[in-house]
């Protein structure tokens, strides 16, 4: 009987530890919503900041984050999906393929601030893009790449091999099979992976510190070579470098950022579960 008691106590302990993991998440999200919701109104979302950012809205930061995320998507999706197609459909198990996988794991592990340094060195200074949306988007795109490649490869590999053989038996070339059969089947999985990668990019601060972010720029960017404010950077500077900043505005900014990122995460989950249910294989 004793060991069954041990099991019961053990399981309860495991559950308790899982609770210790999960409860603070609720606490963080709940607190930010509760304390930030008061600051968020129409003006906050659509007006320029005033009085040294202590009043007015965060419109340019919201737009900046959206533009950066879009730029990241434009650069990262073709390369990421292409890389995934190569790994899943073309690559054989050679040392070279293994080196590619190793490189992807390493890209995923490089600290975000090192991406910032790299972006500064390559895009801002060497290629002379300056501190700009272009430099920031490309930096974020490289950081996002490993997430997109891994997710897209997994989605492509999940398509049964029969789909490819049937396509080939009907006289299709390998590329036709990929383009018309495999890719459409894997699309929901790829989209989910892309959203999850972009979500990380939208919330990042360190890589944009020296590549795009403007401390205070109460206008919208005019070209890819402009600087821009971004939500995460705005939260960082208002909480550390502006004395006398009303706490409510900081919580409001945190809430808007959190809402943006979590809604992307929910969207990814919905797409994934929706198509998983409709899948016929």
């Amino acid at each position: 009987m004793n060991r069954h008691l041990i099991q019961r106590v053990g399981f309860a302990l495991l559950g308790l530890m899982a609770l210790v993991v999960v409860l603070p998440i609720l606490l963080v999200v709940g607190t930010i919503v509760a304390r930030g919701i008061g600051a968020v109104d129409w003006e906050f979302l659509t007006a320029m900041p005033r009085d040294g950012m202590k009043a007015g809205g965060i419109f340019p930061a919201i737009v900046g984050t959206l533009i950066l995320t879009l730029g990241t998507a434009l650069a990262a999706i073709p390369v990421g999906v292409g890389g995934a197609i190569y790994l899943s459909e073309y690559a054989r198990d050679t040392w070279l393929t293994r080196a590619i996988r190793l490189a992807i794991i390493n890209l995923a592990g490089i600290p975000s601030v090192v991406y910032g340094l790299f972006g500064l060195g390559l895009f801002v200074l060497f290629l002379q893009f300056g501190t700009s949306i272009l430099a920031g988007s490309l930096t974020l795109a490289i950081m996002t790449l490993p997430v997109i490649i891994s997710a897209a490869e997994e989605a492509l590999r999940a398509v049964p091999v029969e789909f490819r053989t049937v396509s080939a038996s009907l006289g299709g070339t390998r590329w036709q099979g990929i383009r018309y059969i495999v890719l459409p089947q894997a699309l929901p999985g790829i989209i989910t992976g892309v959203i999850l990668g972009l979500l990380r990019a939208a919330g990042e601060t360190a890589p944009v510190l020296f590549t795009v972010a403007a401390f205070f720029l109460p206008r919208l960017p005019q070209s890819p070579f402009d600087q821009t404010m971004t939500l995460p950077y705005h939260l960082y500077v208002t909480s550390t470098q502006v004395p006398g900043m009303p706490l409510e505005i900081q919580y409001g900014t945190a809430l808007v950022l959190l809402a943006l990122v979590l809604s992307m995460s929910v969207l990814a989950t919905v797409i994934r579960s929706h198509y998983r249910r409709r899948r016929q294989w």
Binding site: R3, H4, Q7, F11, L13, L14, G15, M17, A18, V21, V22, I25, V28, V29, I32, V79, G82, G83, I85, L87, Y90, R98, I100, L102, A103, I104, N106, A108, G109, I110, P111, S112, V113, V114, G116, L117, F118, G121, L122, L125, I142, L145, A168, G171, T173, W175, Q176, L199, G203, E204, A206, F210, P232, Y236, S239, A254, L257, V261, M264, S265
Partner: protein, 304 residues
């Protein structure tokens, strides 16, 4: 697709297709190119510091760039201390959660826990740092009676939660890969489920669990914004035991905080890139170790 019907052999491909496949091949290799490129640019901007600053200074104990003191030791030890404590907190919690979710929890609990952990993975680090700074630091200050709540411990606490999603998902995958027959065999021998988990399933998933630990550690050591906001950023050597409850400064926070203010091409600028090289090599080694566990498993044709 119609234009293909006249081809006798399917090996004849239109030129456009050849172009696309060549492009895909090039793109496929891009990740290697990028890793090399990142390293080259860190070297290019960072290596001059080794010629401008004597090694004794560079590996000294004082980081005061305004007085040309570039001792990276306090920063390195700061990173190591915060990461180590974070792992002490995160590993048991992460392992327990992964085991609970995969082996014990009823269906509804799993449906609640997994999305919650995905939410945690999605919270931007600056938001967690802001939360830690405004709410956790005051609690730490008052309960411990220390002059400031922005301490190594506060940073480690936040970092632990940032590493948790990685640890949990990788460890869960590892447990998932253990065949059901292993569990059945354990239970058939008369072992309880608890005994089966600890003596059969967890040992079988060992390499994946080591990998979870490694990847979580890599994530923790490279984390920047949260750490910068909650650790207090004092570049002091954390040697005594109570330095856990004093401010420390990590390598990542140093780069993020100081890069904005330095003149391009100055010694300080090169030194910050030098720290970037250290960070790159450190995470490279950690990830290499993590990756080697997968490759080893694959070569042996092990569980998966």
């Amino acid at each position: 697709m119609m234009d293909q019907t006249d081809n006798r052999t399917s090996s004849r491909r239109p030129w456009a297709e050849f172009g696309i496949e060549a492009l895909i091949q090039v793109v496929g290799f891009s990740s290697i190119g990028l890793v090399v490129l990142i390293f080259l640019f860190l070297i290019r901007e960072g290596v001059p510091v080794f010629f401008e600053v004597p090694l004794g200074n560079l590996f000294g104990t004082r980081w005061y760039p305004t007085f040309d003191l570039f001792g990276t030791l306090p920063l390195l030890l700061g990173s190591v201390l915060v990461t180590a404590i974070a792992m002490v907190i995160a590993l048991p919690l992460g392992m327990a959660t992964a085991i609970f979710v995969r082996e014990v929890a009823p269906g509804w609990a799993r449906e609640v826990l997994k999305p919650m952990i995905e939410v945690l993975a999605g919270i931007p680090s600056v938001v967690l740092g802001f939360f830690g700074m405004t709410l956790i630091a005051p609690v730490v200050r008052e309960t411990l009676g220390v002059p400031t709540g922005l301490t190594a411990f506060t940073g480690a606490l936040i970092l632990a939660y940032m590493a948790l999603p990685t640890i949990i998902s990788v460890a869960e995958d590892a447990l998932d890969a253990v065949p059901k027959s292993y569990r059945d065999a354990g239970l058939a021998m008369g072992a309880t489920q608890w005994q089966t988990i600890w003596r059969v399933v967890v040992p079988a998933a060992r390499s994946g669990i080591v990998m979870a630990m490694m990847l979580g550690m890599g994530r923790a050591i490279g984390e920047t914004m949260a750490v910068m906001l909650v650790t207090g950023n004092a570049a002091r050597l954390p040697l005594s035991l109570d330095s856990l409850f004093r401010p420390v400064r990590t390598m990542t926070a140093t780069v993020a905080a100081e890069m904005g203010e330095v003149a391009q091409g100055s010694t300080h600028y090169h030194a910050l890139f030098g720290i970037g090289i250290i960070l790159f090599l450190l995470t490279f080694l950690i990830n290499l170790a993590a990756a080697s566990t997968i490759f080893k498993k694959r070569r042996r044709g092990g569980l998966r």
